[in-house]
Amino acid sequence: MPTNSGAYDENDATRQTADPADGIGHVVTSPTANGSRDVPDAQNAASTDETLNAHVKKRAVGGKRAANGLTKKGWIWAIAAMVVVVALISVFLVIRQKAEIVTDRAHQADSVSIGLKLAPTNLDIRNQSGTSLDQVLVGNVYEGIVARDSHNNVVPGLAKSWEKSADGTIYTFHLNDNMTFSNGDKLDAEDVAWSINELMVNHYHSSELLMNFKSAIAADTDTVKIELTAPYSDLLWVLACRPGLVLDRNAEYDIKTQAVGSGPYTVAKFVPNDSITLKANPHYWGGGKAITQTVVLRYFADDNAAVNALKSGDVQVLAPVSENLAGPFEKDNEHYRVAAGDGTDKFVLAMNSKGAATSDIRVRRAIRHAIDHKQLIASRGGADKPLGGPIASLDPGYEDLTGLYPHDVDEARELMKEAGYTTENPLELRLTYANTYGTELGDQLRSQLKPIGINLKVNMVEFSTWLQDVLKNKDYDLSLVDHNESHDFSQWTDDQYYYNYSNEKVKNYYRQAMAASDDSQRDALLSKAARQVSEDAPADWLFNYRITTAMKTGVTGFPLNLNQTLLPLRDVTYVPAQR
């Protein structure tokens, strides 16, 4: 049989006589038709030699044709067809891409895409925490009674001016004229007072920042009076954040998926975890209308994906760009600009002040001496700044406290010895932190703490688990988290906060600072409090994270400082390079 088929294989001339359908029918059914399996064989046996031969020939030819068609030439054809399809798609896309570039050349682009990392879950500015929401909405879509600039100073917002009563309890704000929301509604003092009162009644997000609040009243259409029970030196700054935002009391919309504000942009489209499209607000009341008509904010969870998007031109700005991936952009300074900006992100290594071993201040001090901050910063790319205390450089009361606990392994070892631990008899500690910060920090801390007799167990968890275990239940030895809030010193005065830290002296300084009548007095008291906290070592401040931004040359007006919390887009423009 095999020799037969071999012979037929070489014979091409018999092709025309083939009838493949016949061949298939017989062979395929024969094995399945259990009982009648022998039928064709029986037929064959009954035939004479000639008919048998003819039969075999016919079938074999049929089989052969199929085999020949599908194996040799068929494969070649299939591969050729695939290549052609791929080539066609490629050509089509190249043409399309060229067309896009041509439209881009028309001087200033009317659309800019910005790549960001953390996406807001929803647009509910009243309830949803997270600075990624402030970043998009505050100043762009919603505006506050006052605003912040990129140096974290308070500047006029909806109010063009304000004054404070002599005892510091009544603030009078004078609003701009003819203000409207993006839906055309008028914005007046009633809206302002209503927004603030709603915030306080319903305990919306950050309402706790508005301390000593008594009432907000619209004195007339463009004057708002805010009355306090006692002076509060941080009031203006707080009003520049979420508590001061003004919403439209007459508008009905789903605040989780839409936003109606008075800012230079409106939310045109919101795709959770993917992108937010902002369009210039045609009704903007202010002089400084948005320059670029459309701004698309795109969110990349994956750092590599983000870098590829900038390379391929899908986005023109990337903030933040992972330090370790920014190299190629830094080298290519003809096409890209890479720069770091200041922020208020503090990477806090909290040491539970009521923990079994960490309640011993010698252990906490030893840990602070043992940590080599320069090494931590260098391994992250070198843009971050060392930070010796709880206040970052853009916040009031900042003072360089890095000298309090210089890197000194001998001192650290000595302190640990006093506390009763050596490398032979090490102390076991557990570090709990969210997996979003990567494994490197934990590994480095473990190796830095090993020589002083601490056996660090690194426990990486999901952020929600961290919230539960550390923030809520305070069940931890060491914890690491990025406190990116600004003006957040009050954490250190709250006994209930997860630090378990309590010092009456600090609380007093802070109370006085908040009651201070002028800013310099406030700042002096805050820095005293910060120094005290740092000396007590309830935590180590690993570094002040600085955001590295990479953008195409031709992008202007993009803020570098604080751009993960405050990202005014009004002046951002992009002029594509002429080729």
Partner: protein, 322 residues
């Protein structure tokens, strides 16, 4: 018919058990949506207030029954955090993931079946081990690395042949069909090449086994060449096995393509599920998991039916018993 009814009842019972397991498992997880929403600095009272707003302070039995009640009415609920109907959220994600899987499977079948059959049919030992090696290498490529390689080769702006978009999905979705399709080409190739390699190994071993069986001898006795016998008889016989494998592949890809979705910044099911779980958006997660489970079961159900269709022996076996 009785088979279908029995299978269907089993399907429903399994879904009920799954719903209980999902619900219970998610309540055991540490952390909850209100604390995620409230953030780091919120006072505990605020968290408590959000919790009661979201209805998470009700007894578990009440929460469960209201969820099931919604499911029975075809209402998957409203996400705690995004405030959107979960049904439409999942639909939007499916419109990315399913086309990606289907395209990936087409590539996988084209590669896997072709090379698998070629590996069996080739008579040259060198070629045979070449195919063997190809299968091993293809199966060993990590999706992340393979995807990056494809981006480096074909990604617009980065690639040597920079022709295809490598990042994201158009906001307008399938309304801009060309862009949408183009943005799925590279991800589908990544998925397809890798699963194609394992499909190739399945095909090779399944067909290889059949090649030594009496069926092939029979076919060749009837005058078929070895090649023809393999293609006409062998493939037909391996079909049920391959359908099972492809069915399983399809099901596992739903979440399995997550790495690829992440790499190409596609808003698909896998990435969505992980985000929702991270935010402890329990209502969303439980409905999503439920839908996935239902879908897995459905695929299994479908594979069973297909088997019956493709392999008449199974039908006869049932008839004989009946």
């Amino acid at each position: 018919m009785r088979f279908i009814v029995r299978r269907f009842l089993l399907f429903v019972a399994a879904l009920f058990v799954i719903s209980v397991v999902i619900f219970a498992a998610l309540r055991i997880l540490p952390g909850d949506a209100p604390s995620v929403m409230a953030g780091l600095n919120a006072p505990p009272e605020r968290v408590a207030m959000l919790r009661s707003q979201m209805g998470l302070d009700r007894p578990l039995a009440v929460q469960y029954s209201s969820w099931i009640d919604g499911l029975l009415h075809g209402d998957f609920g409203i996400s705690l955090l995004t405030g959107r109907p979960i049904g439409s959220m999942v639909a939007a994600r499916c419109s990315v993931t399913f086309p990606l899987i289907v395209l990936g499977l087409i590539v996988a079948i084209a590669i896997g079946l072709t090379f698998g059959v070629m590996a069996v049919l080739t008579t040259r030992p060198a070629l045979r081990s070449g195919f063997h090696l190809l299968g091993l290498i293809g199966g060993a490529i990590p999706a992340l690395w393979g995807g990056l390689l494809l981006i480096l080769l074909f990604g617009r702006g980065t690639g040597l042949l920079g022709v295809l978009p490598s990042q994201g999905f158009p906001e307008t979705g399938w309304d801009s069909f060309r862009t949408a399709f183009a943005s799925l080409v590279l991800p589908a190739l990544t998925v397809g090449v890798i699963s194609g390699a394992s499909l190739m190994r399945y095909t090779r071993s399944a067909l290889g086994d059949i090649m030594h069986s009496g069926y092939i001898d029979q076919a060749m006795a009837c005058g078929y060449t070895r090649r023809a016998a393999a293609l006409k008889v062998g493939l037909r016989l391996t079909m049920p096995q391959l359908v099972s494998v492809v069915g399983l592949m399809f099901a596992s890809m739903i979440t399995g393509v997550m790495v690829v979705e992440n790499l190409f910044a596609l808003p698909g099911i896998g990435t969505g599920l992980v985000t929702d779980l991270g935010n402890r958006d329990l209502i969303a997660v439980q409905s999503e998991l439920f839908m996935l489970a239902a879908f897995f079961l459905f695929i299994g159900f479908l594979v069973d039916l297909l088997h019956r269709f493709l392999d008449p022996r199974l039908r006869y076996a049932v008839q004989e018993r009946a």
